[in-house]
């Protein structure tokens, strides 16, 4: 698993555990998990890459990163936990006062178009599409077969809550002996 201080992927894992088991239960789980983590990698997708090369047994990552390894031929099987799992939505932004606002809007529309999103698999991106009309790549995770939690983006996306959880993880989990 990656280090949630550096990786948004791992922070999502931490926040998911807190949402499923409550704060105390979630941290208890992370403490027990700690004994089984050989490296808290910097990058979110690094654990599954290491697993693909036999340096790890399991990587806790976003599903599409695991799918990418499997598609490349590495011996990886993507699995979603049956208790439920968190998720995130990738986003775009236009800067306030942008000089070329019209072009930026055009790009927004372009990136959200069905046909364009369907080309994502050419770049080996196996996420589920944000445009509901777009047909996701056949290897992409099937959301209907995965139990999703009601992820509280407002609370766990806020800077204060994130700082608090990360500081707690640092002092209560990361510093424990293996």
């Amino acid at each position: 698993m990656a280090n949630p201080n550096s990786s948004g992927t791992a922070y999502t894992t931490l926040a998911t555990m807190v949402q499923i088991f409550g704060e105390e239960g979630g941290f208890d789980y992370m403490k027990k998990l700690h004994k089984n983590i050989n490296t808290y990698t910097k990058s979110g997708s690094a654990p599954i890459k290491a697993a693909g090369r036999g340096e790890n047994t399991i990587g806790i990552v976003f599903l599409h990163d695991a799918v990418k390894q499997a598609v490349s031929g590495f011996p990886i099987v993507p699995v979603a936990p049956c208790e439920g799992t968190g998720y995130e939505i990738g986003s775009m932004s236009i800067i306030k006062g942008a000089r070329n606002l019209d072009s930026a809007k055009k790009f927004y529309d372009f990136a959200l178009r069905k046909g364009i999103q369907e080309r994502a698999k050419e770049a080996k991106a196996y996420q589920v599409m944000s445009n509901k009309g777009a047909i996701p790549p056949e290897q992409a995770p099937k959301l209907e077969s995965i139990k999703l939690i009601d992820y509280d983006f407002k609370k766990y996306g806020s800077s204060a809550e994130r700082k608090r959880l990360l500081a707690k993880w640092d002092s209560d989990v990361k510093s424990l002996p293996k």
Binding site: N3, P4, N5, S6, S7, G8, A10, Y11, N38, T39, Y40, T41, K42, S43, S45, K49, G52, R53, G54, E55, K68, Q69, S72, G73, F74, G97, R99, A123, K124, S159, R162, K163, L166, D170, S175, P177, K178
Partner: protein
Amino acid sequence: MTGALTDAVKVNRAVLIWSLTALAGGFILPWYAIEDGFWSFGWLLDGYPFDDYYPLIVLLLDGEAPWLWPVVILAVATLLAARRDKRDPAFCLILLAAGGGGFFYAVLQGFAIGISGWEYGFLETLFGTMESRQFGMGYGALLAVGGLFFLFTNALAARGAVNGDVFVVGSIGLIIIVVAAFIFWPISQVLVSAIQDNDHNLALGLFADKLFNTKIWGLHCVYGQRACGVAWNSLALAIAVGAGTTLLGLAFALLVTRTNFPAKRLFRGLTVLPIITPPFVIGLALILIFGQSGAFTSLLEWAFGITPSRWVYGFTGVWLAQMLAFTPIAFLVLIGVVEGVSPSMEEAAHTLRANRWDTFRTVSLPLMRPGLANAFLLGFIESMADFGNPMVLGGNFEVLSTEIFFAIVGAQFDQGRAAVLALVLLFFTLSAFYAQRRWLGRKSYTTVTGKGDAGIPTALPDRLITLVLCTTVPWAVLTAVIYLMIMFGGFVETWGLNHDLTLRHYIDAFGVTAGDHGLVWSGGAWNSFLTTITIAAVSAPLTAGLGLLTAYLLVRQRFAGKDAFEFGTMLSFAIPGTVIGVSYVLAFNVPPIEITGTGAILVVSFIFRKMPVGVRAGIASMSQLDESLDEASLTLGATSWATIRRVVLPLLRPAIVAAIVYSFVRAMTAISAVIFLVSAEYDMATAYILGRVENNDYGISIAYSSVLILVMFAAILLVQLAVGERQLGRRRGDGLARTNVAGAGA
């Protein structure tokens, strides 16, 4: 210029040229930046006054940007000084007022008025709301500001600064200005957040909390189970890498210059290889060899039953990778210095009955001190700032550079913490810098003098040769194995998984197909490849030039604030590329220097990231040149510029080669700052390769890297041919011919 005119009143040519430059900036060229980029010239087709991009005077006559009137008026006023003698007090007065005033006014207005009018609240309360806004400065502004600035330095020289040497004062001024604009300004954008909370209020208590944090300074690894603070990790690693690369670099330099080892040319080529390899490729190769399922690990397990361990993840792995990556830098610095050690002094030692070992220990080695110190400093700083290797091989071993990066882009979003960590890193590198200066002290290391040197380099003591061979040969073998593995990776389906041979990756990257209208560059890599070559070729000579000019000023000139000057030029090197990248995006996304997303920002970042190497190499070589050579030239009436061109530069050829080669290859292999600065239009090879690695396309990444390596080898040879070799006028011994700089290399 007619004869009559020159007789009557001599026109000061320098002043006239700079005045006209400033005027061209105000009257002819577009004042604001061209939106399509610095190198686009479509606007020229519109014809004067360039429809969308008016020159300043046209803007002003249209009633736009009225706050710029003083710039034009002062630029015209500088012409008044052109026909005055420089001893005339009015000359100084006019240039100081018009040149200096114009320059500072132009810079201040650039920072004060931005995209949304006044940039600072107090200006708004002072002058009322600003209706108009302005974008980045363009060619016109650049020329006007540059011209006014050099008129200002001309005036300073005329007032007697640095013995009234116009060239030296201008150079010092130029370097101060560019360092201020491209190092201090962007870095200050990041560092100022160290003493602010997230809402930009001053918060010194928070700063102290962040600075004296156990995560930075903790010593738990000494007495407990927990890991030590990142500061200690970085420090230990940097010292180990600095010492290791210096010793290994020295061994290779001695091997190449002072022994008759048959394969030394091959060795020399091998030492250059790692410098021209994108760092994560080395990291990956190390994992494939020494990782838990790596080839060497499996071999040991099969042959001796040694259980695979994770030693390659952490201090040892990062150290090994950094040694591979940075030994060439030490080598490049040391080879010029080892060559420069005067054989006469060694012969003198022999005459005094010293044996070869004593000669080496008491004469040759002390004379190499500037090289050793500079090599250590470079290794130390490179290790501190390195990002790629700790990223790939760090495991649970945390260092400052990665922590800084993830404090900004990671889940923490804590710019203040990043700034504090950057300050800690800066403190270490600056301490190393001062330690190095203390160690060198005020001793003289001059060995290249105007007098002929008839000595023959002595052979090394046998003990030392054995030692040199024992270190260099295994290292060269390791390097060779790693590179064979990497090259192999380009020809198989999936490296480390499916080893069926294929040429697919090369075709994907560099395919050329015959289309309807001639050849089509269908390979995916062509775009970034050509951009990379162009940008590297543009930035390398600029980097070397600026670096050597700085070195010349530091070694040869005396002026007030020299230490601060040296510190400023070394600063960018001490800061990890990732911090530079982030700070450049912050500083140059808005006027007055609006270059984010252009090719110019890449060139600028390379110049200022790598200039310190040119400075160090220049200083190391220049401290060996006897100052009486310069003095002789100056006494004979040559200007300081002519002296540089005719005397200093030819003697500096090894340093020039080192600086150009290093900046060229680093421009092609750098990743940490680049990753923030590339755009769709200006994509760089390393960013492209990293993207492919992220997608598991190792084949195409390696194919691409292999092609880059070949290109860089060709470039190195070309640079050596173009710059030529240094003729030291030394006799060649029968047994031990001196290796020429240009002779080896491949």
